[in-house]
Symmetry: none
Subunit: 233 residues, 2 copies
DNA sequence: AAACATATATATCAATTACTTAAATTAATT
DNA sequence: AATTAATTTAAGTAATTGATATATATGTTT
């Protein structure tokens, strides 16, 4: 599954150029021509990262950024702002509005790709790294293998994805609805109880691997599930 | 506790200027004069973020960055690289080596602060996001945990919501009716006395956590409940 | 100050709700 | 067709909830 990036720019040449470069680097692209269009496409496709031009018709990149940050579904979405305005207060404004990075035009394709990768590495490690680690749990994403206390853990695909997600944000509690969205996909209707069943299997597999019957997953009643962090509880 | 930032630059003026600006913004600073020195100080002080000049004696910022990324203790450490070299392949090299951001000199203090904040927001969300604090009480909304005097407090969902609400407006007295509306939901009919019962449970849990039998909740006869502020009785 | 009226705190219990798990069913792969 | 995984169902278990009863505290009136 490709990492999808939404690009919003009202200048067709710029848009196509960026799309070309990103695709060459192996990303999937979704193109938007203005702010409103971008918002709609973000809702529909849940891209993994968005690149927004500051100056756009309908809704500016800054306003869109603010909107995205205010909604719980996109609060964590990685955002890069592009702008022809290169003075320092614009840069600050863009970043302080909640963007993760700000690139002044003109920029090289190379820089863009490096910045996209740097941001993904930080915000969605599973999309870039081969290995995720948390205490004694390790996931090798390319090889699709999991070890717990250096023992192999055999998981089904759903359990694997669930664990990957939990490991991207240790300590964070994901609601069943959120997990269904992220693991099963947006708009798929499945019973929430199904999540419980998969969590149960995941736990069973992990407990079996650790001889000690250890279980790194925390249940929060009425809340959801998350990966235990030693600091808390 | 201040967020500590290590700055490494062999140019004393630049170093002092950055330290001054960061401290003005409320950060603690640790200053290093070269790469080796920086590595030592990072090991000793575990800063929350590091800013490394590319060109430094002993060990360049890039080499240091590579070293930090290869060690498990600093694999996740947020890194910003500074450089007088502003051509695109240098930027890419810096970012591809594992830095989170790259700033070309000369840059404004304002941009530096904004980039530091953006990176902290992304890498240590707990430092900025989703934590409610009031004196010795802390709630992490992401992790759904409560601590009082650094001890964990176990709460049921209703008590958790009640406390969250009170902590959103310390000192404000919420009537039972208002609490029922906000926590139980509009239109749900529940006895007002039930609020008393949950408050009692919440208090019990907090008192247990603080060995001193402390209770941060204030009852206002005929009024409701609120979070104590030392200023107001 | 005493007696009364009213409000709040807490313990207890039954009802409810939420979670876990195993087993059965359905769907997808091989 | 056989195997593997995904989903639903259903039953068992555990935790939370809300009402009520009683004790305690507060405020008012005489």
């Amino acid at each position: 599954m490709k990492t999808n990036i939404l690009i919003a720019d009202d200048e067709p040449n710029q848009l196509e150029l960026m799309a070309y470069n990103l695709e060459t680097s192996g990303f999937g692209t979704i193109k938007a021509r203005d702010g409103k269009n971008a918002l709609q496409l973000i809702e529909d496709h849940s891209p993994d990262l968005v690149i927004l031009d500051w100056m756009m018709p309908n809704m500016s990149g800054i306003d869109l950024c603010r909107t995205l940050r205010s909604r719980s579904e996109t609060k964590q979405l990685p955002i890069i702002i592009l702008s022809a305005r290169s003075d320092d207060s614009d840069k600050s404004l863009g970043l302080d509005t909640g963007a993760d990075d700000y690139i002044s035009k003109p920029f090289s394709p190379k820089e863009l790709i490096s910045r996209v990768n740097a941001l993904l590495r930080r915000s969605r490690p599973a999309l870039i790294n081969n290995i995720l680690e948390h205490e004694n749990l390790k996931i090798s994403l390319n090889e699709m293998t999991v070890t717990y206390f250096d023992k192999n853990v055999k998981l089904g695909p759903k359990e694997f994805k669930l664990l990957t997600l939990l490991m991207e944000r240790p300590g964070h509690i994901f609601s069943r609805g959120k997990l269904l969205d992220l693991v099963w996909g947006h708009g798929v209707y499945v019973e929430e109880r199904t999540v419980d069943v998969h969590m149960s299997r995941l736990r069973k597999a992990l407990k079996t691997a650790s001889d000690e019957n250890l279980d790194p997953i925390r249940t929060v009643r009425d809340g959801g599930y998350g990966l235990f962090t030693n600091k808390i509880i």
